[in-house]
């Protein structure tokens, strides 16, 4: 690991000024950064530890919604009474991610900044990977790609984003609020990460020196659920996951929001499925047909066609789970 120098600002303004320095990275929970640095994925000269800047930690009710400060630990956000009661899909998604120890360190603002778990990206020895070395190609395209994308991939990158909370946030139409030297932005969770068709070398739209300061979620979604399919029962990344939030009128779906995880470089909202679910009665055959319609543009790689069926069934099951939530 390359040595780096360290600063721990005590205000947001100071943090932004320092984070904008060249060859500088921001540290919050640190659970990803140290592993990147060990592998050599990043080699910053400077680290800005923002973990103690005030005013961006905790959960607070907004008019018609909630704000979660970026520095809120994953465990604290998931177990907050307001999140548990009003956004069960988010609470479940967080508690199914990582381990209890990591969730005590990792922050909700750092979570979407995780990088892909593709073994070629994380390799100790150099392998072709456009996210590791732009222009070097994609070893996963014709290599080990059992866990890779079925939506939105290109021959330049077939990796999926691994975050669970992000999938719930995308289903809830949550927004990341940022701050930076040119002011703040509002970035929808569903489009925070960069698809390879936009830029195969990029991870997210966050700019150098820009900080995520919070997450805002709109109206409560008590009828919501998260399903994570994985090779182990706990402490494992998803093979596929599904987040569903329903607005019901008795047994009839007024509005459905469906996002899939670990199928693309960002949470994948099934827009056509959502459109067809509106007005359908729970348990009717039309539900399955609506889910199928969302997979019209799914495209498997050489070794992951099974993920299409798995994701389809996960979406269907999660609709049922959300209806019973």
């Amino acid at each position: 690991m390359r040595d780096f120098s360290y600063a721990r600002p005590t205000s947001r303004a100071e943090a932004i000024a320092l984070a904008g320095m060249p060859d500088t990275m921001v540290l919050a929970g640190g659970t990803e950064f140290l592993n990147w640095a060990r592998i050599g994925i990043v080699e910053p000269a400077r680290i800005v530890d923002i973990s103690r800047i005030p005013g961006i930690e905790g959960v607070e009710a907004l008019a018609g919604g909630v704000r979660i400060g970026a520095l809120t630990k994953l465990n604290d956000a998931a177990q907050h009474p307001l999140i548990r009661a009003s956004y069960p899909v988010l609470s479940e998604a967080i508690l199914k991610s990582a381990s209890a120890q990591i969730r005590n360190l990792a922050t909700v603002g750092g979570n979407p900044l995780q990088r892909v778990r593709c073994p070629y990206f994380r390799a100790d020895e150099p392998t072709p990977c456009n996210k590791r070395v732009p222009g070097s190609g994609c070893a996963a395209l014709h290599g080990f790609n059992e866990k890779h994308a079925i939506f939105g991939w290109t021959k330049d990158c077939v990796a999926v984003h691994p975050a669970d909370p992000l999938v719930a946030l995308a289903a809830l139409d949550a927004v990341f609020t940022t701050d930076g030297k040119d002011g703040g932005r509002r970035i929808p969770a569903r489009s925070f990460n960069t698809l390879p068709g936009e830029d195969a070398t990029a991870h997210s739209v966050l700019r150098h020196g820009e900080l995520i300061v919070g997450i805002e979620i709109g109206g409560a979604a008590p009828k919501s659920a998260y399903l994570k399919i994985r090779e182990r029962e706990s402490y494992e990344f998803a093979t596929v996951s599904a987040a569903v939030a329903l607005d019901l009128d008795g047994e009839v779906i007024r509005r459905a929001r469906v996002a899939l995880g670990s199928v693309a470089m960002r949470p994948w909202r099934l827009a056509e499925t959502e459109r067809r679910l509106a007005g359908q009665r729970l348990g009717s055959p039309a539900i399955g047909a609506a889910v199928d319609a969302g997979f019209a543009d799914a495209l498997p790689l050489s070794s992951n066609a099974y993920k299409i069926k798995l994701a389809r069934n996960a979406a269907l099951r999660t609709i049922e789970l959300a209806a019973r939530a």
């Binding site: 690991m1 390359r2 040595d3 780096f4 120098s5 360290y6 600063a7 721990r8 600002p9 303004a13 100071e14 000024a17 320092l18 320095m21 540290l27 929970g29 640190g30 659970t31 140290l34 592993n35 640095a37 060990r38 400077r46 680290i47 530890d49 973990s51 990582a98 381990s99 209890a100 120890q101 990591i102 005590n104 360190l105 029962e233 706990s234 402490y235």
Partner: protein, 199 residues
């Protein structure tokens, strides 16, 4: 530990000086080069951290890249905290940071400045074992023992969090600690028993 306590630390002196410099740079960046230089001075290549470890104050001069895990083991000879995977996957390095269980391999020691750390060496009360340590012995909750210190620290955290309502809940909330010998049934039984004793 008077040798660890100084009225004004080097970090304080540097920080106050740098904050003045940075403040000037932000308010009046008449020269971009000067501003950048002032900001650069906020970064330390050798930092001082005051960390209370098992009730004892330590003043440590640290390279920023050094982890809490390596500091405990290599600097302070607290080798009960084990270095298993060194990437946050096995849980062998679990310690309590301000009372909450974390992977010491994922924490920079300098970032623990001002915080309290409890390791396996800090659990027993003199000759009296901590109830979780005793429960692990009573339930034969280890074979090779390499993961045990991390398992016990994680169990202390798990019990304090109240995630011991059932064996299934214990297994879920202890899943960050891998046991290569697969002593999981005995480990979860030990945690269950220790949690009952606490109530």
């Amino acid at each position: 530990m008077s040798e660890h306590q100084t009225a004004v630390s080097r970090r304080d002196v540097i920080r106050r000086g740098a904050m003045v410099a940075a403040g000037v740079a932000i308010v009046a960046p008449t020269d971009a080069g000067d501003a950048s230089e002032s900001l650069s001075k906020r970064f330390e290549t050798l930092a001082t951290a005051h960390i209370e470890i098992n009730g004892v104050d330590h003043r440590l001069e640290l390279q920023p890249r050094v982890t809490l895990l390596d500091t405990l083991r290599e600097r302070l000879n607290l080798t009960g905290t084990k270095k298993g995977c060194n990437r946050g996957e096995c849980g062998a390095c679990t310690v309590l940071l301000d009372g909450r269980r974390v992977n010491a391999c994922l924490v920079l020691a300098v970032a623990a400045d001002g915080r309290k750390v409890t390791t396996i060496e800090g659990l027993a009360d003199g000759p009296h074992l901590h109830p979780v340590q005793q429960a692990f012995i009573d339930h034969d909750a280890f074979q090779c023992g390499f993961c045990t210190c991390g398992q016990i620290m994680s169990a202390v955290g798990c019990i304090a969090e109240g995630h011991t309502g059932s064996n299934a809940e214990i297994r879920e909330w202890m899943s960050g600690n891998i046991c290569r010998c697969s002593a999981y049934p005995q480990i979860s039984a030990a945690v269950e028993a220790a949690a009952r004793e606490r109530v």
